[in-house]
Symmetry: C2
Subunit: 340 residues, 2 copies
DNA sequence: ATTGGCAGTCGTAACCATTGAGTGCTAACG
DNA sequence: CGTTAGCACTCAATGGTTACGACTGCCAAT
């Protein structure tokens, strides 16, 4: 077990390094913190911490910098949670006010989080995997165009334009609509595919291609629901903290824009604890994010966690501030969604 | 008037500078290009070009670099248009295939343009200012929730959730829907506000607040149409070309994310010529884009120009390649939209 | 008008000495 | 045994000097 005072020293090192962004040495440590001992003693402690791979010296003879492992220990064992300041609280409240639409709420949320943390903020759209069909609508907008509307119980409405080769008559649309509503209302999204299995056979052969086209679109919509989506804000903060990232930031921007990598990363973090979870540096296993930390928290809708939100920043970040910001915003979002 | 050979020299300077990103001197110029004269003569020409502010020497004694004015002359007078390569053509065709939805088409287009040019690509959503209401729909999704659907004739459907304080009955929804359709179908978006002027008075006083809520939402939607929107791709390319931008790229990323600045810039370019238009460096009047060039082209839908698309990159860019890429993509997009 | 030649300008790279922050180790101390 | 003072050592950073080289501008010759 690592003795208490060593941890105290680690905490001080992380603290100072985050503040100054300079490797921290034994002397400046005793100056800035009131340990009751001399720098030589601290040096011994630091040698110990270095043996444990919690800190590392960039060059043979300059101060120490926390390793990913060091940061991990810091957040797991030593993290006091910094409460949000008053202006931050009011910022959250004003930001969240007066939104009704899910798109708008999430858009505001992600910008808020970016502003609050000065990092890149991410908000994942609710996974509708467990959602249920509330209603289906078919609306004729032209002789050969329909709009298909899929309404689910997680405040999301999806629409898609369907183009037909020839004109379609109103009666057909009406019956199709009625049958779809009858077949699907209330069923979960994962059941939709099964429920539509023999649907086409209810119609006359010459209608079949039309029906099939609608069904294909519908299934596509359902599938689009299953596949998650992330919205981002504050990518400019990446460039602002550029020095903290070892390599160039361009591969990071690429990975972020690509979404795929990001989504998998978020997905993997799903499994962890219930509150805020972190991936520090090499922990996330991706070369382009090897000097980045991801802080994520789930948020809920109607009692069950639907998706995650969080920030991405340099490993050298203010962990307390970011963790509490992510947590607070997740709570507010849960609360806002609950009111819908 | 500037003599012909001087222009020839300017062209060579721009060409070499774009290729090497190094200030170009008289000696290397005569080596790389077959002028029939010696470096001394070229020096005289260069002194002339410098008098005209077309090129500038970063330090007293090193090669010359084109100024914004120099680039401007280059694109206006000397720009041969590089035809697209075969792989580029096929890339465009495969990218554009099999899309039906406007969102998807524009999304693909912007990614395509980014990939083709290695710059930040922007596609503006069609301005619906001159659009017409095709239909309005009200759909009840819960006792106290309606979805308002606004369908316009420029392939765009907008939806918005409306939350009521109390439950509403079906009859009311049906009559409201019918009256809205009657009042608005076919009218242009700019007329909507006027047409709804005395709409509320058709209903009994106790309904009025409900009706008003719906109308407000509707007007909000119309307004959201008028206000343009831009989608982006390839922001990672900014970081890749970082050296070409004088200052930090973070204010640029901010301005891009902000959209407002970007939209005004695009708006201003609207007035220029019909084909591809450029803003080079200081021409765009914004400090954060003082070493960037914007290349934009309009694209059309049903014969009239609806919006613009283009790229943003360093002033030191391959103008011929980017101009022809922007032009080609604009044409393909127009063509694709025409097939809808 | 063109050109070769030459002096002059600076930015860049290389080299070297100096500085100083910081370490590890050892011996002394309570 | 933990703590401490002292000391030799390391090494990045700093700054000054020099040499180099890629330029230009100008002038006299062609």
């Amino acid at each position: 077990m690592i003795p208490e005072r060593s941890l105290e020293v680690l905490r001080a090192i992380v603290h100072d390094y985050i503040e100054t962004s300079q490797p921290v040495g034994s002397k400046s440590l005793v100056e800035r913190h009131a340990f009751g001992v001399s720098s030589a003693t601290i040096r011994n402690e630091m040698a110990l911490l270095e043996d444990e791979q919690l800190i590392i010296a960039p060059h043979t003879s300059s101060g120490r910098v926390p390793t990913d492992k060091g940061y991990r220990l810091f957040v797991d064992r030593l993290g006091e949670v910094k409460p949000l300041s008053l202006p931050e609280r009011t910022a959250i409240e004003t930001f969240m006010q007066g939104s009704a639409d899910l798109d708008e709420i999430l858009g505001r949320t992600v910008r808020l989080l970016a502003q609050l943390t000065n990092q890149v903020a991410m908000v994942q759209y609710p996974s509708l995997d467990k959602g249920h069909v509330k209603s289906v609508e078919l609306i004729k907008v032209a002789d050969n165009q329909l709009i298909l509307l899929l309404i689910t119980d997680i405040s999301r409405v999806q629409q898609h334009l369907i183009q037909f080769a020839a004109a379609i008559d109103d009666d057909f649309v009406a019956t199709l609509r009625a049958k779809l509503i009858g077949a699907l209302t209330g069923s979960s999204l994962s059941q939709v595919s099964a429920k539509l299995k023999d649907f086409t056979s209810q119609f006359s052969p010459q209608r079949e291609t039309y029906v099939q086209l609608v069904l294909d679109t519908l299934l596509e919509q359902v599938d689009a629901n299953r596949q998650d989506k992330v919205i981002l804000a504050g990518t400019a903060n990446l460039a602002k903290n550029e020095d903290d990232f070892k390599g160039s930031i361009s591969p990071m921007l690429e990975a972020i824009e690509e979404q795929v990598v990001l989504l998998r990363l978020i997905q993997e973090m799903q499994a962890e604890e219930n509150g805020v979870s972190l991936r520090i540096g090499s922990e996330n296993g991706l070369a382009e994010f090897s000097s980045s930390t991801v802080v994520m928290s789930g948020y809920e809708k109607e009692g069950s966690q639907v998706a995650k939100l969080g920030v991405l920043g340099p490993t050298r970040m203010d962990y307390s501030a970011n963790i509490s910001a992510v947590r607070a915003v997740a709570r507010y979002l849960t609360q806002t969604l609950g009111g819908l």
